[in-house]
Protein backbone atom coordinates (compact mmCIF):
# COMPACT_ATOMS: atom_id res chain seq x y z
CA UNK A 1 0.00 0.00 0.00
CA UNK A 2 1.53 3.26 -1.08
CA UNK A 3 1.69 5.85 1.64
CA UNK A 4 -0.74 8.73 1.21
CA UNK A 5 -2.40 7.08 -1.78
CA UNK A 6 -6.07 7.99 -1.97
CA UNK A 7 -8.49 5.25 -0.88
CA UNK A 8 -10.01 5.21 -4.36
CA UNK A 9 -8.46 6.70 -7.48
CA UNK A 10 -10.00 6.70 -10.95
CA UNK A 11 -7.21 7.62 -13.34
CA UNK A 12 -7.92 9.00 -16.79
CA UNK A 13 -10.67 6.50 -17.53
CA UNK A 14 -12.25 6.39 -20.97
CA UNK A 15 -15.07 4.00 -21.85
CA UNK A 16 -16.42 3.50 -25.33
CA UNK A 17 -19.41 1.37 -26.21
CA UNK A 18 -19.14 0.38 -29.87
CA UNK A 19 -16.96 3.40 -30.47
CA UNK A 20 -19.30 5.87 -28.81
CA UNK A 21 -17.62 7.39 -25.76
CA UNK A 22 -19.58 7.12 -22.48
CA UNK A 23 -16.78 8.41 -20.23
CA UNK A 24 -13.83 10.44 -21.45
CA UNK A 25 -10.58 11.05 -19.56
CA UNK A 26 -12.37 10.93 -16.25
CA UNK A 27 -10.25 11.23 -13.12
CA UNK A 28 -11.49 11.27 -9.53
CA UNK A 29 -9.87 10.69 -6.16
CA UNK A 30 -11.61 9.82 -2.92
CA UNK A 31 -9.77 9.96 0.38
CA UNK A 32 -10.08 7.54 3.29
CA UNK A 33 -13.48 7.94 5.03
CA UNK A 34 -14.55 10.58 2.58
CA UNK A 35 -18.12 10.90 1.32
CA UNK A 36 -18.27 12.04 -2.30
CA UNK A 37 -21.53 12.68 -4.15
CA UNK A 38 -21.62 12.60 -7.92
CA UNK A 39 -24.32 14.58 -9.70
CA UNK A 40 -24.85 14.97 -13.40
CA UNK A 41 -27.43 15.02 -16.16
CA UNK A 42 -29.21 11.78 -17.10
CA UNK A 43 -27.07 9.59 -19.30
CA UNK A 44 -23.83 11.26 -18.27
CA UNK A 45 -22.36 7.86 -17.45
CA UNK A 46 -22.63 7.90 -13.65
CA UNK A 47 -23.67 4.27 -13.51
CA UNK A 48 -20.97 3.37 -16.03
CA UNK A 49 -18.44 4.96 -13.70
CA UNK A 50 -19.73 2.75 -10.88
CA UNK A 51 -19.51 -0.35 -13.03
CA UNK A 52 -15.88 0.57 -13.71
CA UNK A 53 -15.00 1.16 -10.05
CA UNK A 54 -16.75 -2.05 -8.96
CA UNK A 55 -14.90 -4.02 -11.63
CA UNK A 56 -18.04 -5.17 -13.46
CA UNK A 57 -16.79 -3.37 -16.54
CA UNK A 58 -13.25 -2.85 -17.83
CA UNK A 59 -12.49 0.63 -19.19
CA UNK A 60 -11.27 1.12 -22.74
CA UNK A 61 -8.32 2.95 -21.20
CA UNK A 62 -7.36 4.21 -17.74
CA UNK A 63 -7.03 2.58 -14.33
CA UNK A 64 -8.82 2.12 -11.04
CA UNK A 65 -6.65 2.09 -7.91
CA UNK A 66 -7.56 1.17 -4.34
CA UNK A 67 -4.93 2.37 -1.88
CA UNK A 68 -2.61 2.71 -4.85
CA UNK A 69 -3.15 -0.89 -5.99
CA UNK A 70 -4.40 -1.45 -9.53
CA UNK A 71 -7.75 -3.28 -9.38
CA UNK A 72 -9.02 -2.38 -12.86
CA UNK A 73 -11.60 -4.95 -13.97
CA UNK A 74 -11.48 -6.91 -10.70
CA UNK A 75 -14.64 -7.50 -8.71
CA UNK A 76 -14.94 -8.23 -5.01
CA UNK A 77 -13.17 -5.14 -3.64
CA UNK A 78 -16.02 -2.69 -3.06
CA UNK A 79 -19.61 -2.77 -1.84
CA UNK A 80 -22.32 -1.85 -4.31
CA UNK A 81 -25.91 -0.80 -3.83
CA UNK A 82 -28.53 0.22 -6.38
CA UNK A 83 -31.90 1.95 -6.45
CA UNK A 84 -33.40 -1.53 -6.65
CA UNK A 85 -32.82 -3.15 -3.27
CA UNK A 86 -32.20 -6.56 -4.91
CA UNK A 87 -33.11 -8.33 -1.70
CA UNK A 88 -33.63 -12.05 -2.14
CA UNK A 89 -37.26 -12.85 -1.35
CA UNK A 90 -36.58 -16.27 0.20
CA UNK A 91 -33.94 -14.95 2.58
CA UNK A 92 -34.77 -13.21 5.83
CA UNK A 93 -33.30 -9.82 6.75
CA UNK A 94 -30.33 -11.53 8.38
CA UNK A 95 -30.07 -14.01 5.51
CA UNK A 96 -29.89 -11.13 3.05
CA UNK A 97 -27.31 -9.24 5.08
CA UNK A 98 -24.96 -12.25 5.06
CA UNK A 99 -25.42 -12.80 1.32
CA UNK A 100 -21.86 -11.75 0.52
CA UNK A 101 -20.47 -14.40 2.88
CA UNK A 102 -22.94 -16.97 1.56
CA UNK A 103 -21.80 -16.36 -2.00
CA UNK A 104 -18.08 -16.51 -1.32
CA UNK A 105 -17.28 -18.90 1.54
CA UNK A 106 -20.61 -19.86 3.09
CA UNK A 107 -22.23 -17.89 5.91
CA UNK A 108 -21.34 -19.03 9.42
CA UNK A 109 -23.33 -18.52 12.60
CA UNK A 110 -20.76 -15.87 13.45
CA UNK A 111 -21.66 -14.02 10.23
CA UNK A 112 -25.31 -14.22 11.18
CA UNK A 113 -24.63 -13.00 14.70
CA UNK A 114 -22.62 -10.11 13.29
CA UNK A 115 -25.42 -9.32 10.83
CA UNK A 116 -27.94 -9.38 13.66
CA UNK A 117 -25.77 -7.01 15.70
CA UNK A 118 -25.35 -4.66 12.74
CA UNK A 119 -29.07 -4.69 11.94
CA UNK A 120 -30.03 -4.16 15.55
CA UNK A 121 -27.72 -1.18 15.90
CA UNK A 122 -29.22 0.53 12.86
CA UNK A 123 -32.90 0.13 13.60
CA UNK A 124 -33.79 -3.24 12.12
CA UNK A 125 -33.75 -5.19 15.39
CA UNK A 126 -37.42 -6.11 15.24
CA UNK A 127 -37.19 -7.41 11.69
CA UNK A 128 -34.27 -9.85 11.82
CA UNK A 129 -36.37 -12.85 10.83
CA UNK A 130 -38.68 -11.00 8.42
CA UNK A 131 -38.82 -11.76 4.74
CA UNK A 132 -38.27 -8.70 2.50
CA UNK A 133 -41.87 -8.63 1.23
CA UNK A 134 -43.01 -7.86 4.77
CA UNK A 135 -40.87 -4.68 4.90
CA UNK A 136 -41.48 -1.13 3.69
CA UNK A 137 -39.37 0.38 0.90
CA UNK A 138 -37.25 2.35 3.34
CA UNK A 139 -36.64 -0.68 5.55
CA UNK A 140 -35.66 -2.73 2.51
CA UNK A 141 -33.04 -0.14 1.53
CA UNK A 142 -31.69 -0.22 5.07
CA UNK A 143 -31.26 -3.97 4.75
CA UNK A 144 -29.57 -3.47 1.37
CA UNK A 145 -27.09 -1.05 2.95
CA UNK A 146 -26.43 -3.45 5.84
CA UNK A 147 -25.79 -6.18 3.25
CA UNK A 148 -23.28 -3.86 1.59
CA UNK A 149 -21.60 -3.07 4.93
CA UNK A 150 -21.39 -6.75 5.85
CA UNK A 151 -19.18 -7.36 2.82
CA UNK A 152 -16.32 -6.12 4.99
CA UNK A 153 -15.22 -3.75 2.25
CA UNK A 154 -15.15 -0.23 3.61
CA UNK A 155 -15.60 1.38 0.18
CA UNK A 156 -19.27 1.67 -0.69
CA UNK A 157 -20.73 2.63 -4.05
CA UNK A 158 -24.31 3.78 -3.66
CA UNK A 159 -26.13 4.35 -6.96
CA UNK A 160 -29.23 6.45 -6.28
CA UNK A 161 -30.16 4.20 -3.36
CA UNK A 162 -33.12 6.33 -2.31
CA UNK A 163 -34.33 7.26 -5.79
CA UNK A 164 -37.43 5.09 -5.65
CA UNK A 165 -38.65 6.25 -2.23
CA UNK A 166 -41.26 8.90 -1.50
CA UNK A 167 -39.83 12.25 -0.40
CA UNK A 168 -40.68 11.82 3.29
CA UNK A 169 -39.06 8.37 3.51
CA UNK A 170 -36.17 9.59 1.42
CA UNK A 171 -35.37 12.37 3.89
CA UNK A 172 -35.59 9.90 6.78
CA UNK A 173 -33.20 7.61 4.94
CA UNK A 174 -30.76 10.44 4.22
CA UNK A 175 -30.63 11.34 7.90
CA UNK A 176 -30.26 7.67 8.76
CA UNK A 177 -27.40 7.26 6.28
CA UNK A 178 -25.73 10.34 7.76
CA UNK A 179 -25.83 8.73 11.19
CA UNK A 180 -24.48 5.43 9.85
CA UNK A 181 -21.70 7.20 7.99
CA UNK A 182 -20.77 9.39 10.93
CA UNK A 183 -20.71 6.25 13.08
CA UNK A 184 -18.56 4.07 10.84
CA UNK A 185 -15.19 4.37 9.24
CA UNK A 186 -16.30 3.93 5.62
CA UNK A 187 -15.61 5.62 2.31
CA UNK A 188 -18.68 6.37 0.21
CA UNK A 189 -19.20 7.23 -3.43
CA UNK A 190 -22.80 8.30 -3.91
CA UNK A 191 -24.61 8.91 -7.20
CA UNK A 192 -27.77 10.99 -7.16
CA UNK A 193 -29.97 13.30 -9.22
CA UNK A 194 -31.00 15.17 -6.14
CA UNK A 195 -28.81 18.21 -5.46
CA UNK A 196 -30.12 18.63 -1.90
CA UNK A 197 -29.29 15.01 -1.16
CA UNK A 198 -25.82 15.34 -2.67
CA UNK A 199 -24.91 18.35 -0.53
CA UNK A 200 -26.60 17.20 2.68
CA UNK A 201 -24.61 13.95 2.74
CA UNK A 202 -21.25 14.64 1.18
CA UNK A 203 -17.83 16.09 1.94
CA UNK A 204 -17.41 16.81 -1.77
CA UNK A 205 -19.80 17.08 -4.70
CA UNK A 206 -18.40 16.12 -8.11
CA UNK A 207 -20.37 17.43 -11.07
CA UNK A 208 -20.34 15.43 -14.30
CA UNK A 209 -20.80 16.76 -17.82
CA UNK A 210 -23.23 15.54 -20.44
CA UNK A 211 -22.18 12.42 -22.32
CA UNK A 212 -19.30 11.68 -22.74
CA UNK A 213 -19.00 12.10 -18.99
CA UNK A 214 -16.17 14.01 -17.37
CA UNK A 215 -15.84 15.65 -13.97
CA UNK A 216 -16.37 19.36 -14.70
CA UNK A 217 -16.38 20.61 -11.12
CA UNK A 218 -15.38 19.30 -7.72
CA UNK A 219 -16.84 21.25 -4.81
CA UNK A 220 -15.92 21.03 -1.13
CA UNK A 221 -18.88 20.94 1.21
CA UNK A 222 -17.51 22.52 4.37
CA UNK A 223 -20.73 22.08 6.38
CA UNK A 224 -19.82 20.82 9.86
CA UNK A 225 -20.64 17.28 11.01
CA UNK A 226 -22.62 15.77 12.58
CA UNK A 227 -25.29 17.17 10.29
CA UNK A 228 -29.00 17.19 10.86
CA UNK A 229 -32.22 18.46 9.33
CA UNK A 230 -31.35 22.12 10.01
CA UNK A 231 -28.47 21.94 7.54
CA UNK A 232 -31.01 21.95 4.71
CA UNK A 233 -32.20 25.44 5.59
CA UNK A 234 -28.87 26.99 6.59
CA UNK A 235 -27.49 29.91 4.52
CA UNK A 236 -24.30 27.97 3.74
CA UNK A 237 -26.35 25.14 2.26
CA UNK A 238 -28.34 27.49 0.03
CA UNK A 239 -25.15 29.09 -1.23
CA UNK A 240 -23.68 25.67 -2.17
CA UNK A 241 -26.92 24.57 -3.78
CA UNK A 242 -26.99 27.69 -5.96
CA UNK A 243 -23.48 26.92 -7.13
CA UNK A 244 -24.13 23.24 -7.92
CA UNK A 245 -27.33 24.12 -9.77
CA UNK A 246 -25.46 26.74 -11.79
CA UNK A 247 -22.82 24.15 -12.72
CA UNK A 248 -25.43 21.59 -13.65
CA UNK A 249 -27.56 23.88 -15.75
CA UNK A 250 -25.18 26.03 -17.74
CA UNK A 251 -27.01 27.89 -20.48
CA UNK A 252 -26.45 26.15 -23.79
CA UNK A 253 -23.60 27.71 -25.72
CA UNK A 254 -24.75 29.54 -28.80
CA UNK A 255 -22.81 28.46 -31.82
CA UNK A 256 -21.89 31.55 -33.82
CA UNK A 257 -23.10 31.54 -37.37
Amino acid sequence: MAADAPRVAVEDVTVRFDGAPALEHLSLEIGQSEFVSIVGPSGSGKSTLFNIVSGLLSPTSGRVLLDGRDVTGETGHVGYMLQKDLLIPWRTVVGNIVLGAALTRGATSRDRAEAAALATRYGLGEFLDHYPHALSGGMRQRVALMRTLALHTDVLLLDEPFGALDSQTRLDMQLWLLSVYEDLNVTILFVTHDVDEAILLADRVAVMSERPGRIVADLRIPLPRPRDLDVLTSPGFTELKREVLRLLHKPAAVVPA
Binding site: L56, G95, A102, T104, T120, Y131, A134
Partner: protein
Protein backbone atom coordinates in the same frame (compact mmCIF):
# COMPACT_ATOMS: atom_id res chain seq x y z
CA UNK B 1 -57.19 -18.58 15.48
CA UNK B 2 -57.68 -16.41 12.47
CA UNK B 3 -55.81 -18.96 10.37
CA UNK B 4 -58.10 -21.78 11.57
CA UNK B 5 -61.20 -19.77 10.73
CA UNK B 6 -59.98 -18.95 7.24
CA UNK B 7 -59.07 -22.60 6.68
CA UNK B 8 -62.51 -23.71 7.84
CA UNK B 9 -64.16 -21.27 5.43
CA UNK B 10 -62.04 -22.57 2.56
CA UNK B 11 -62.81 -26.21 3.31
CA UNK B 12 -66.51 -25.36 3.58
CA UNK B 13 -66.42 -23.59 0.20
CA UNK B 14 -64.65 -26.55 -1.41
CA UNK B 15 -67.26 -28.92 0.00
CA UNK B 16 -69.96 -26.61 -1.30
CA UNK B 17 -68.37 -26.75 -4.77
CA UNK B 18 -68.46 -30.56 -4.76
CA UNK B 19 -72.08 -30.39 -3.56
CA UNK B 20 -72.91 -28.04 -6.44
CA UNK B 21 -71.37 -30.40 -9.00
CA UNK B 22 -73.38 -33.31 -7.60
CA UNK B 23 -76.48 -31.10 -7.58
CA UNK B 24 -76.12 -30.21 -11.25
CA UNK B 25 -75.44 -33.88 -12.02
CA UNK B 26 -78.74 -34.84 -10.34
CA UNK B 27 -80.54 -31.98 -12.07
CA UNK B 28 -79.38 -33.19 -15.51
CA UNK B 29 -80.63 -36.72 -14.74
CA UNK B 30 -83.97 -35.33 -13.62
CA UNK B 31 -84.35 -32.81 -16.48
CA UNK B 32 -83.58 -35.29 -19.27
CA UNK B 33 -85.18 -38.19 -17.48
CA UNK B 34 -81.99 -40.28 -17.83
CA UNK B 35 -82.20 -43.94 -16.89
CA UNK B 36 -79.78 -45.31 -14.32
CA UNK B 37 -77.97 -47.46 -16.93
CA UNK B 38 -77.30 -44.31 -18.99
CA UNK B 39 -76.16 -42.09 -16.14
CA UNK B 40 -76.38 -43.17 -12.51
CA UNK B 41 -76.78 -40.54 -9.79
CA UNK B 42 -73.65 -39.40 -7.97
CA UNK B 43 -75.04 -40.94 -4.77
CA UNK B 44 -75.36 -44.38 -6.35
CA UNK B 45 -71.92 -44.01 -7.97
CA UNK B 46 -70.35 -43.25 -4.62
CA UNK B 47 -72.34 -46.11 -3.10
CA UNK B 48 -70.91 -48.41 -5.79
CA UNK B 49 -67.39 -47.48 -4.71
CA UNK B 50 -68.33 -48.42 -1.17
CA UNK B 51 -70.03 -51.69 -2.18
CA UNK B 52 -67.21 -52.82 -4.45
CA UNK B 53 -64.35 -51.50 -2.33
CA UNK B 54 -62.62 -54.90 -2.28
CA UNK B 55 -62.47 -54.68 -6.11
CA UNK B 56 -61.64 -50.99 -6.24
CA UNK B 57 -58.95 -50.93 -3.57
CA UNK B 58 -56.17 -52.78 -5.47
CA UNK B 59 -57.11 -50.97 -8.71
CA UNK B 60 -56.89 -47.60 -6.99
CA UNK B 61 -53.55 -48.42 -5.40
CA UNK B 62 -52.22 -49.58 -8.76
CA UNK B 63 -53.26 -46.33 -10.49
CA UNK B 64 -52.01 -44.17 -7.62
CA UNK B 65 -48.64 -45.93 -7.88
CA UNK B 66 -48.38 -45.31 -11.63
CA UNK B 67 -49.41 -41.69 -11.20
CA UNK B 68 -47.08 -40.97 -8.30
CA UNK B 69 -43.94 -42.65 -9.66
CA UNK B 70 -44.50 -41.33 -13.17
CA UNK B 71 -45.06 -37.86 -11.74
CA UNK B 72 -41.85 -37.95 -9.73
CA UNK B 73 -39.82 -39.22 -12.69
CA UNK B 74 -41.36 -36.60 -15.00
CA UNK B 75 -40.73 -33.81 -12.50
CA UNK B 76 -37.11 -34.84 -11.97
CA UNK B 77 -36.41 -35.21 -15.69
CA UNK B 78 -38.12 -31.89 -16.43
CA UNK B 79 -36.19 -30.06 -13.73
CA UNK B 80 -32.80 -31.47 -14.76
CA UNK B 81 -33.51 -30.74 -18.42
CA UNK B 82 -34.35 -27.13 -17.57
CA UNK B 83 -31.15 -26.66 -15.56
CA UNK B 84 -29.03 -28.18 -18.34
CA UNK B 85 -30.81 -26.14 -21.00
CA UNK B 86 -30.41 -22.90 -19.08
CA UNK B 87 -26.66 -23.46 -18.84
CA UNK B 88 -26.14 -23.32 -22.60
CA UNK B 89 -28.01 -21.38 -25.27
CA UNK B 90 -26.95 -23.93 -27.88
CA UNK B 91 -28.30 -26.87 -25.91
CA UNK B 92 -31.50 -24.91 -25.35
CA UNK B 93 -31.97 -24.15 -29.06
CA UNK B 94 -31.25 -27.78 -29.85
CA UNK B 95 -33.62 -29.28 -27.32
CA UNK B 96 -36.56 -26.87 -27.25
CA UNK B 97 -38.00 -27.87 -30.65
CA UNK B 98 -37.62 -31.51 -29.65
CA UNK B 99 -39.55 -30.93 -26.47
CA UNK B 100 -42.34 -29.11 -28.27
CA UNK B 101 -42.52 -31.94 -30.79
CA UNK B 102 -42.78 -34.46 -27.96
CA UNK B 103 -45.93 -32.70 -26.78
CA UNK B 104 -47.39 -32.16 -30.24
CA UNK B 105 -47.34 -35.89 -30.94
CA UNK B 106 -50.72 -37.27 -29.75
CA UNK B 107 -49.91 -39.17 -26.58
CA UNK B 108 -52.43 -41.89 -27.47
CA UNK B 109 -50.59 -42.48 -30.73
CA UNK B 110 -47.17 -42.98 -29.18
CA UNK B 111 -48.56 -45.02 -26.30
CA UNK B 112 -48.90 -48.10 -28.51
CA UNK B 113 -45.29 -48.12 -29.75
CA UNK B 114 -44.18 -47.49 -26.17
CA UNK B 115 -46.03 -50.64 -25.10
CA UNK B 116 -44.28 -52.59 -27.86
CA UNK B 117 -40.93 -51.15 -26.72
CA UNK B 118 -41.33 -51.50 -22.98
CA UNK B 119 -43.77 -54.40 -22.67
CA UNK B 120 -46.94 -54.42 -20.61
CA UNK B 121 -45.58 -53.88 -17.14
CA UNK B 122 -45.26 -50.73 -15.07
CA UNK B 123 -42.57 -49.15 -17.24
CA UNK B 124 -44.62 -47.94 -20.26
CA UNK B 125 -47.15 -46.34 -17.88
CA UNK B 126 -44.43 -44.53 -16.00
CA UNK B 127 -42.99 -43.30 -19.30
CA UNK B 128 -46.36 -41.99 -20.46
CA UNK B 129 -47.12 -40.24 -17.16
CA UNK B 130 -43.60 -38.76 -17.07
CA UNK B 131 -44.06 -37.71 -20.71
CA UNK B 132 -47.04 -35.50 -19.90
CA UNK B 133 -45.62 -34.23 -16.60
CA UNK B 134 -42.12 -33.15 -17.62
CA UNK B 135 -43.14 -30.55 -20.17
CA UNK B 136 -44.89 -27.96 -17.98
CA UNK B 137 -42.01 -28.42 -15.51
CA UNK B 138 -39.31 -27.71 -18.13
CA UNK B 139 -41.13 -24.69 -19.53
CA UNK B 140 -41.81 -23.10 -16.14
CA UNK B 141 -38.40 -23.77 -14.62
CA UNK B 142 -36.66 -22.46 -17.76
CA UNK B 143 -38.74 -19.29 -17.51
CA UNK B 144 -37.82 -18.97 -13.84
CA UNK B 145 -34.10 -19.33 -14.57
CA UNK B 146 -34.30 -16.87 -17.46
CA UNK B 147 -36.00 -14.24 -15.32
CA UNK B 148 -33.44 -14.06 -12.53
CA UNK B 149 -32.67 -10.34 -12.25
CA UNK B 150 -29.48 -9.53 -14.17
CA UNK B 151 -28.69 -6.78 -11.64
CA UNK B 152 -28.80 -9.40 -8.90
CA UNK B 153 -26.33 -11.55 -10.81
CA UNK B 154 -24.12 -8.47 -11.31
CA UNK B 155 -24.35 -7.77 -7.60
CA UNK B 156 -23.24 -11.31 -6.84
CA UNK B 157 -20.25 -10.77 -9.15
CA UNK B 158 -19.37 -7.53 -7.36
CA UNK B 159 -19.51 -9.52 -4.13
CA UNK B 160 -16.94 -11.88 -5.62
CA UNK B 161 -19.36 -14.83 -5.69
CA UNK B 162 -18.28 -18.34 -6.58
CA UNK B 163 -20.33 -19.47 -9.53
CA UNK B 164 -21.78 -22.60 -7.97
CA UNK B 165 -22.57 -20.76 -4.73
CA UNK B 166 -24.44 -18.12 -6.70
CA UNK B 167 -26.31 -20.90 -8.48
CA UNK B 168 -27.27 -22.53 -5.17
CA UNK B 169 -28.16 -19.28 -3.39
CA UNK B 170 -29.80 -17.30 -6.16
CA UNK B 171 -30.75 -19.27 -9.26
CA UNK B 172 -31.83 -22.58 -7.76
CA UNK B 173 -34.26 -21.12 -5.19
CA UNK B 174 -35.63 -18.83 -7.92
CA UNK B 175 -36.86 -21.93 -9.74
CA UNK B 176 -39.03 -23.04 -6.82
CA UNK B 177 -42.10 -20.93 -7.52
CA UNK B 178 -42.18 -21.68 -11.27
CA UNK B 179 -41.36 -25.31 -10.51
CA UNK B 180 -44.48 -25.58 -8.39
CA UNK B 181 -46.58 -23.90 -11.08
CA UNK B 182 -45.38 -26.60 -13.47
CA UNK B 183 -45.95 -29.34 -10.93
CA UNK B 184 -49.53 -28.22 -10.32
CA UNK B 185 -50.32 -28.53 -14.02
CA UNK B 186 -48.40 -31.81 -14.18
CA UNK B 187 -50.21 -33.27 -11.16
CA UNK B 188 -53.61 -32.96 -12.82
CA UNK B 189 -52.31 -34.31 -16.15
CA UNK B 190 -50.57 -37.25 -14.50
CA UNK B 191 -53.80 -39.19 -13.82
CA UNK B 192 -54.87 -38.87 -17.46
CA UNK B 193 -51.44 -40.18 -18.45
CA UNK B 194 -51.84 -43.17 -16.15
CA UNK B 195 -55.28 -44.00 -17.61
CA UNK B 196 -53.99 -43.77 -21.19
CA UNK B 197 -51.07 -45.97 -20.22
CA UNK B 198 -53.42 -48.57 -18.78
CA UNK B 199 -55.61 -48.52 -21.86
CA UNK B 200 -52.81 -49.32 -24.28
CA UNK B 201 -50.48 -51.35 -22.18
CA UNK B 202 -52.01 -53.27 -19.35
CA UNK B 203 -51.31 -56.62 -17.92
CA UNK B 204 -52.08 -55.45 -14.39
CA UNK B 205 -55.47 -54.02 -13.73
CA UNK B 206 -55.83 -50.37 -12.75
CA UNK B 207 -58.78 -48.00 -12.60
CA UNK B 208 -58.28 -47.16 -16.29
CA UNK B 209 -58.49 -50.77 -17.40
CA UNK B 210 -61.51 -51.30 -15.15
CA UNK B 211 -63.14 -48.25 -16.74
CA UNK B 212 -62.64 -49.75 -20.18
CA UNK B 213 -63.98 -53.25 -19.41
CA UNK B 214 -66.99 -52.01 -17.44
CA UNK B 215 -67.90 -49.56 -20.22
CA UNK B 216 -67.97 -52.59 -22.53
CA UNK B 217 -70.63 -54.22 -20.36
CA UNK B 218 -72.66 -51.01 -19.87
CA UNK B 219 -71.87 -51.08 -16.14
CA UNK B 220 -72.26 -47.31 -15.85
CA UNK B 221 -72.27 -47.36 -12.06
CA UNK B 222 -68.86 -49.01 -12.12
CA UNK B 223 -67.65 -46.56 -14.76
CA UNK B 224 -68.82 -43.54 -12.77
CA UNK B 225 -67.36 -44.98 -9.57
CA UNK B 226 -63.96 -45.42 -11.20
CA UNK B 227 -64.23 -41.93 -12.73
CA UNK B 228 -64.92 -40.39 -9.32
CA UNK B 229 -61.94 -42.24 -7.85
CA UNK B 230 -59.69 -41.05 -10.71
CA UNK B 231 -60.88 -37.49 -10.22
CA UNK B 232 -60.21 -37.79 -6.50
CA UNK B 233 -56.64 -38.97 -7.24
CA UNK B 234 -56.13 -35.95 -9.52
CA UNK B 235 -57.43 -33.49 -6.95
CA UNK B 236 -55.43 -35.13 -4.16
CA UNK B 237 -52.25 -34.92 -6.27
CA UNK B 238 -52.87 -31.23 -6.88
CA UNK B 239 -53.49 -30.57 -3.18
CA UNK B 240 -50.34 -32.47 -2.23
CA UNK B 241 -48.32 -30.25 -4.57
CA UNK B 242 -49.93 -27.15 -3.07
CA UNK B 243 -49.10 -28.40 0.43
CA UNK B 244 -45.50 -29.10 -0.61
CA UNK B 245 -45.32 -25.59 -2.07
CA UNK B 246 -46.46 -23.97 1.16
CA UNK B 247 -43.80 -25.90 3.08
CA UNK B 248 -41.04 -25.30 0.53
CA UNK B 249 -41.67 -21.59 -0.10
CA UNK B 250 -42.47 -20.14 3.32
CA UNK B 251 -41.64 -16.59 2.16
CA UNK B 252 -44.75 -16.58 -0.01
CA UNK B 253 -47.16 -17.18 2.84
CA UNK B 254 -45.36 -15.95 5.95
CA UNK B 255 -43.78 -12.67 6.94
CA UNK B 256 -41.11 -14.21 9.20
CA UNK B 257 -38.99 -17.33 9.04
CA UNK B 258 -40.07 -20.34 11.11
CA UNK B 259 -36.63 -20.79 12.55
CA UNK B 260 -34.90 -17.45 12.78
CA UNK B 261 -31.84 -16.03 14.44
CA UNK B 262 -33.62 -15.08 17.66
CA UNK B 263 -31.27 -17.31 19.66
CA UNK B 264 -28.28 -15.53 18.16
CA UNK B 265 -29.28 -12.37 19.88
CA UNK B 266 -28.20 -13.38 23.35
CA UNK B 267 -26.00 -10.62 24.66
CA UNK B 268 -22.85 -12.66 25.19
CA UNK B 269 -22.89 -13.78 21.59
CA UNK B 270 -23.56 -10.31 20.36
CA UNK B 271 -20.44 -9.04 22.06
CA UNK B 272 -18.39 -11.84 20.51
CA UNK B 273 -19.80 -10.97 17.13
CA UNK B 274 -18.57 -7.41 17.06
CA UNK B 275 -15.37 -8.50 15.30
CA UNK B 276 -14.91 -6.65 12.06
CA UNK B 277 -17.93 -4.47 12.61
CA UNK B 278 -16.52 -3.31 15.94
CA UNK B 279 -13.36 -2.18 14.21
CA UNK B 280 -15.43 -0.03 11.87
CA UNK B 281 -17.18 1.63 14.77
CA UNK B 282 -14.99 4.55 15.26
CA UNK B 283 -13.90 7.53 17.06
CA UNK B 284 -13.55 9.43 13.86
CA UNK B 285 -10.80 11.95 13.73
CA UNK B 286 -12.15 14.53 11.43
Amino acid sequence: MNFLRRSAVRVALAALAVGLIFGVWNLVIFAFDLKAYALPTPQSSVATIYDRWSTFQPLTLQTIGETAYGFLIGAAVGFLLAVVMSASKTVQRLLYPTLITSQAVPIVAIAAPLAILFGFGLLPKLVIVAWVVFFPVVVNVLDGLAHVDQDLLNLSRVMGAKRWRAFLAIQLPATLSPLFSGLKIGATYAVTGAVIGEWVASAQYGLGTYLQTEAGTLDTKGVMGATILLTAIGIASFLLVVAAEVVATPWRTRSTARRGVGSLLRNDERKGARGWFGSLLQSRSR
